[in-house]
Amino acid sequence: MNRTRNKVSLILNYFLLALIASAMFLPFFWLVSASLQTYEEIISIPLTWLPSSPQWSNYWEVLTSPNVKLGLYFKNSFIVSTVITASVLLTSSMAGYALAKLRFPGRDLFFTFTLSTMMFPTFIFLIPVYYILRRFPFLGGNNFLGQGGSGALSSHAGLILPFVVSAWGIFLMRQFMMTIPDDFVDAARIDGASEFRIFTTIIAPLVKPAFVTLGIFQFIGSWNSFLWPLIVTTSAQHLMTLPVGLRMMVTAYSTTTVQNRLFAATVLGIIPTIVIFLALQRHYVKGITLSGIK
């Protein structure tokens, strides 16, 4: 009797797994298939599951079209995401160290403050930050009072600066560093090492998994971020990132007969983040498991 019950639950397990697998996989399958179809196949009823002959030219047309600057979008997304990730890793680990391993007045207040900033809706900052960036001194033709030019808005800085610190990153780093025994740090202090030295030579190597986790998290988050780039790039099209660029293509092409190119572009837009995750997924999962968010 027990065995039949086991069997039933096993079959149920496999049924559920198959359901999950198809729900997760089919949409991607459709996208890739659509990107290789002709326009007639895309709009045909019933649905075309597989193209009769794969139209690789869709990809070629997207990559060579003068209107679609996919290369530019990639470059911008890459620059912006890389710099944001690097600076978030730096600022988060510094703040995380102070919050986890140093004792000083105001520390807990700052931590509470950091956590509470997560609750502020982006929209509260949107318009003021836009103005602040425009008045940023020494950038984009501005003088030291922030007048005369378009400030940080005409360069990648406009897409980067508002994100160089992440409350989430500080939280993650602090949680992780809390798990490192104080003895390590104290021993080094007795040896006369400076806090900066302890931070760079002892703590930093120990929190590598957290760096990887936060790094992937931040990179993918920045790569996919949409609302802020949408606003900044309306006045600076040369800064358009991939999600915004893809959306421009959607609005330009969705009513035309070259939708198949759009799907090809979408596939190309998905590849970088998928590759990064594939390559680093082991570290990512380990990082989450270790970081004490549980």
Binding site: W30, L31, L99, F104, P121, P128, L161, T251, I293
Partner: protein, 311 residues
Amino acid sequence: MSGLPSESSRRRSVQRTVTGYLFLSPAIVFYLIFLIIPVGMSVYISFRKWNMLVPLSSSTFIGLKNYQDLFRDELFLCAVKNTLIWAIGTVFLGMLIALVIALLILNIRWAPFWRFLVFAPVVTPLVAVARIWGSGIYKTSGGMLNSILAMWQLPPQHWLADSRIALFSIMSVAIWASIGSTVIVFTAGLKGIPDEYYQAAKIDGASPWHEFRHVTLPLLRPTILFLSVTGLIGAWQAFDLVFQMGAGGTQSGVSAVKAIILLNVYLYQTAFQNLRMGRATAGAFVLFLIILCFTFVVLRVLREGGVESYE
């Protein structure tokens, strides 16, 4: 002689304070420029009538009118209602499904493959997600879902155009797109439960359900708390998907229809299409208050079972 140790310990404490703030300085400078000053400016804007085409200094002060107007605006109230449904639905339903998936794939062969499968949508830009679902799965004529319905002789649905189901259609996409990270956090939580607890339950002859109910669930409480708080904060600010899927696919103007408008979309349109910066900013503060209340309620409810804070 007796003053010396306290003198040196005071110097040490001053030094520690300085070092501490030195480490915090990038964050503090950042918060000053990109948080505190902007919030101040936003408070100011929220009391004024300003269309952003003229300098802020030539806008007019109108007191609390922006806040009053919000609550008289039917569309705003719809947005609050929809966002409430959205937040609760995507977060809690998402967590339920994620927990089932996490349990299913916990001790399975090829676990990385399964993790990748559920996580792939998380790393996909939402523009692409919106595209896949909007013009592939949910398309009324020739879309995947309606094709499947047709196989079973069922009538087609207007997944995105029918105001009764559009919000739920988009919510399903949101769950699909975010479930991977929830699964991974749950997996971490489940792996963190010591084996002894399960062995003890086995010895007591507990059924799998009993085991889940009395061992797994209580020990997952901190994970659930974490996911609820962060999930709700994010869900209240959902924007991309609804903005891009709209009620017909591609045009953002349509996403304003009452059935699916969310708070952030409302704010965006109020600010950038209707040029009412004051009202939009006021709305952002209302949204902040809502998030604040929700966070407190969730912390309260979930902590009652003895969940520790993040220490």
